[in-house]
C-alpha cells in the first residue's frame, strides 16, 4: 500500500490501548487521518462533533457494547461505514453484524493489510452511496 495522503477520516474505537495505539500508528503512516476513542460513549461523542468517513469498531468493549455504539453512530449519520472487529467466532454473531448493516467484519487477530483495504473499500462504498443519494434527490 502506498503512503499518499488519503484525505479522509477514520475513527478507530477499541478499549485495548496497545492495539488501538499500534493500529492508529499503522493507519497514520499510510496517510489516513486517524481519530481514536477508547469506548463506545467517546466514539459517539466524536462522531457527533467531528464525523469521520469510516469507523473501525471493536465489538467487545466494556460499557457501551460495539453493537450499541454502531446503532448510535448510524443514527447520527447513516452513511458512515462501519467495519466491526470481533473476537467472537460464532457464525450467528457474524450474520447478525452483517444483517445490522456493518460494512464488513474482521476477526481478531486481524490482518493489518486486510483492514487497510477494507477501510478504503468502505470509503469507496460511502462515496458511491452519497452519489446515489444525490442523484436520487435531483
Amino acid at each position: 500500500m502506498d503512503k499518499k495522503q488519503r484525505e479522509f477520516k477514520v475513527l478507530l474505537v477499541d478499549d485495548e490501548d496497545v492495539f488501538r495505539e499500534a493500529t492508529a500508528r499503522q493507519l497514520s503512516v499510510r496517510g489516513f487521518i486517524v481519530l481514536t476513542a477508547a469506548s463506545g460513549e467517546a466514539a459517539v461523542e466524536l462522531v457527533r462533533n467531528d464525523p469521520p468517513e469510516v469507523v473501525v469498531l471493536d465489538q467487545q468493549m466494556p460499557g457501551m457494547h460495539g453493537s450499541d455504539t454502531f446503532i448510535e453512530i448510524k443514527k447520527l449519520d447513516p452513511l458512515i461505514e462501519v467495519i466491526m472487529l470481533t473476537g467472537n467466532t460464532s457464525v450467528d454473531n457474524a450474520i447478525e453484524l452483517m444483517q445490522m448493516g456493518t460494512f464488513d467484519y474482521l476477526m481478531k487477530p486481524i490482518n493489518i493489510d486486510e483492514l487497510l483495504y477494507k477501510i478504503e473499500d468502505a470509503y469507496t462504498r460511502k462515496k458511491l452511496n452519497e452519489k446515489q443519494q444525490r442523484e436520487a434527490g435531483q
Binding site: 467466532t89 450474520i95 464488513d104 473499500d121 469507496t124
Partner: protein, 871 residues
Amino acid sequence: MSTILGNLRQLFRDICGRNRADQPGNPTEMNALFRFRYTLFKELLVANSELLTVLSDMDEKLKGETVFGLSYITNQVNKSLRHAFQMVKSLNVMSGGKHRELYAALERINDRIKAIMAERRAEHAPRAAVPYEQILLADADWAGGKNANLGEIKNRLDIPVPEGFAITTKGFHDFFAYNDLKEEIIKQKNLIYINEFDLLSNLSAETLELVRSKPMPPELEREILAACEQLWGDDQSVLLAMRSSAVGEDGDISYAGQYLTLLGVTRAEICEAYKSIIASLYSARSISYRSSKGVYDEDLAMAVACLKMVDSRASGVLYTRHPYDITDEHILINAVWGLGPYAVDGVVTPDAYTVTKDADLVLLDKTVATKPVQLVLNRQGGVEERPVDAALQGAPCLTDDQIRTLAGYGAALEAHYKCPQDVEWALDQDDRLLLLQSRPLKIQSPKNFCLLKTAPLEGYRLIVDSGEIASQGVGRGSAVHVRSMEDLADFPEGGVLIARHSSPEYVIVMRHCGAIIVEAGSVSGHMAALAREFNVPTLICAQPVMELIPPGMEVTVDAYTGRVYEGTVTELLAAVKKEEAHMKGTPVYEQLQRIAKNVIPLNLVNPDAPEFTPAGCATLHDLARYCHEYSYKEMFQISDLASKFHGWSLKLDAPLPMDIHLIDLGNGLREGAMVKWNAVQVDEIVSAPFLALLRGMLNREVHGLEPRPVNFAGLLSVFREQTMAPGHVGERFGDRSYAIIADKYLNFSSRVGYHYSVIDAYCGDTVNKNYITFTFKGGAADDIRKNRRVRAISRILDREGFKVDVKADKVDARLQKYPKSYIESRMDILGRLLIFTRQLDMLMTTEQSVEWVAENFVAGNYKLTAPPVEA
C-alpha cells in the same frame, strides 16, 4: 431527411456528452472502485475453494473408514459455515446488498445444524492420564485419534503395541484452567496482526515461554507419574516418545509436522516435555494456519501419546492389500534393519514380502535386498545412521514365521476396520513384533505412484491410461455421449456418461449412471463432489475421450487407477468391495451423516431454473454455488463502470484496429513497467489472460494484408440501419475498449463499431477458479444478418469448447474449471475471433454464410474471399 439529421445530432451529442456525465472523479477513486470489487471477488473464490475442500474431506469421512470424533464434526461444521458466510458476505458487499436474503438462508441452515449438534456432546475424559488398556476407538474425543486407535488395536484385537498411556484432553484443560491461561493467550493474540510474521513469532515465543513457565497442576503431575510407575515401576531408564494427538483436527495430513514430537524423554523430563508439546499449539505456523482455515482456538484441545520407545532391530510398513492395483488382494510387507524412517523414506531398498490374506497366510514371495545402513537410537535419545554388520546386510530382516505372524496382524486389522490398512511395525530387541500405527490405506491415484504403477490388465484393450480420479470406484456400462442437457433426458440405466466437460447438471442422471468420464474439469469441483455423494466412479481425462469412446461402446472404468478398458473387465468388477466400513452405524458417524445433509448436497444445479434463488438454498453447497454464479455476474458488469472512466487509464500501444485502455488492478503490468505518453507496450503486460487474448488479436493470420472484400448489398444494409433506426444508432459507437487487468484476471470490454463484446476471465494455477465468460451483442446490420452473425459466432464457440447460449442478437458463452494452458488457448481463440468478426455482418448475406464462416474460422482460414450465394 429530418430523421437522419436528428439521428446525426443525437450521435454527436452522445459522443461529446459522454465524457462529462457520470464521471466518478479521479484516478485514485477509480482504482479504488475496481479494486474494491476485485478484492471481494478474490475473497469469494478463495472461500469457495476452501469450502469445497471441507466438503470433500467430509465426503471422505462418510466412507466410514477413518476414525473421527465429535470434535472433528464441530470443527468441519464451523469451517464450512465460516467459508459459506464469507462467500455470502463478499457477494453482498460487492453487489451493494443485492443478495441479502442469503443471510436468512444461511441462518436457517445454521439453525438446523446447531439443532443436530446439540443432541450429542463430546464425552469427557475420565482422568488426565489413561493407560492404553482402558482406551478404545470411541474415546477419540478425549484421547485423540492416534491414542484411540492404539487402544483399539491392543484391546479389541489383542495385537501388541508399545507400552504407554495417553495424557487426555482433561490434562490439557486442567493445565490451562489451573494457570488461568486461555483467556490470557487469546487476549494477547488479539493484539497482534496475523500477517506480520515478526509479531506472530514474538507472540508464539512468548506464549511458549508463558506455558512453560507455568507450574503443572499438582494433581496432573501426580497422575502422569503414577501412570509411569504403574507401567514401568522404578525403572528410570525407560525412554519415552511423546507425540501430539490433537483433537478436532481434520486428519493427520493437514496438521502433519505442525506440533511437536519429542523422542527419548526420561521420566524426570516428562512434565516439561508435556508443556512444550501443548505449547506447540501456539507456534506461529499453527496460529496462522488455523486462522486461515477458520479453526477456532476454543474448539481446540490436545491429547498426548506417551509411548515407550522401541529400540527396533528391524521395522517397516505393511499394506493389507496392493495400494493401487485393486485386483491384488495380497498382503505386502517391507522391512529394513533399525528404525522405520529408512523404509518409508526410501533411503534403503527394503526387503519385500508378499503373503496371501486367507487363513493359510502363504508366503508367496520373499525378495531380500542389500541393506548397508540403518537408523538407530543413540544414548541421548536421538537417532543416527550406522552401518549394518556385513553378515546381516544381505539377510532377511524377518523369519518366515515372523512374516506370517505380522501378516496375520494385518489380516485381523483389515477385518476389524473393514477397510484396507496401512500399518507401521517394529521388531524389538527381544524379537517381539509391535504395531506402532495403523490407518486406512488410501487406494491412490496412479499420479502419486507414476513409477510404481502396475501394468494394465492383460487381455483387454486399454482406452485411457491416466485419468484423474474425481470419485473412486469401478463402473461398467455402455457409452453415452452428452453434448447438451437435452441428451440427459433419456439417459439409459447404467450408461457411462461421456462429455467434454464436467457439469453439476449431470446430477439428474447420477442415480442410474454406471460411471462418468469427462475431458476437463476439477477433481475438487461441484460435479466431483456430487459424484462422490452418489458414489459414481468418475474420471477426468485430458484426452479426447469423445473421439476415443464412440457411443454404445461397452467400457469398464477403473477409477482407482484412472483407466478405462473396452468391454467388461470381470476381475475389476469382482474386486470392488461391498463391505460396510467400520465407522458406519456408530452414533458419531450418524451425526456426521445428518449434518452432512445440510452441507454437502447440491440442489441448485441449473442457474436458469426458477429455484435458483436464495430461498432455494437448502445446503451450504447450494449457497456456495449461488454466490459463485452471481459473483461472475457482478464481475462481468465491472466493464459498465469502465466506460464511465474516460478520463484516466493507460493506452495500449499495439498494432490493433481499436484503442485499448488499460486499468491495472494489481500485478497486471510488469514491475517497473515503462509508461510513455500514458501508453504501454505489449511486452510490459504480464496478466496471463490478457496476454493470451492479445496473442490471438495480434495473430498475423487474422489480420491478413488485404481488406476483406465487402459485399455491396451488405454495406447498403449496414448504412440503412445506421441512418434509419432511431434509438439504435450509435448506441455504443465511438466507445473505447477497456482491459481491466490483474495478474490472473481480465475483464475486456470492446465496443467497436455497432456491437459490443465483454470477456471476463480468471486464469491461474487453481483449476477450480479458472473460467471465461464471453458475451457478444449487436451489430449494425438488420436483424436477420445480426442473427446470422451471432449464430456463426456461436457455432465457432461451440466447436472451440464453450457452452453457448443464443438469444436474439446476443451470444453468451462460458467455460470453467479448465487448466491454465487450456484457458490461455481459448483466450487466444477469442482474441482471433474479436478481430475476425469485425464487420462480419456485411458477409452474412445468405443463410449458408453462417456455416461457411464458422467452418473457415475453425479451420484457421481467416481470409474469407467469396461468401456463398443463396441457393
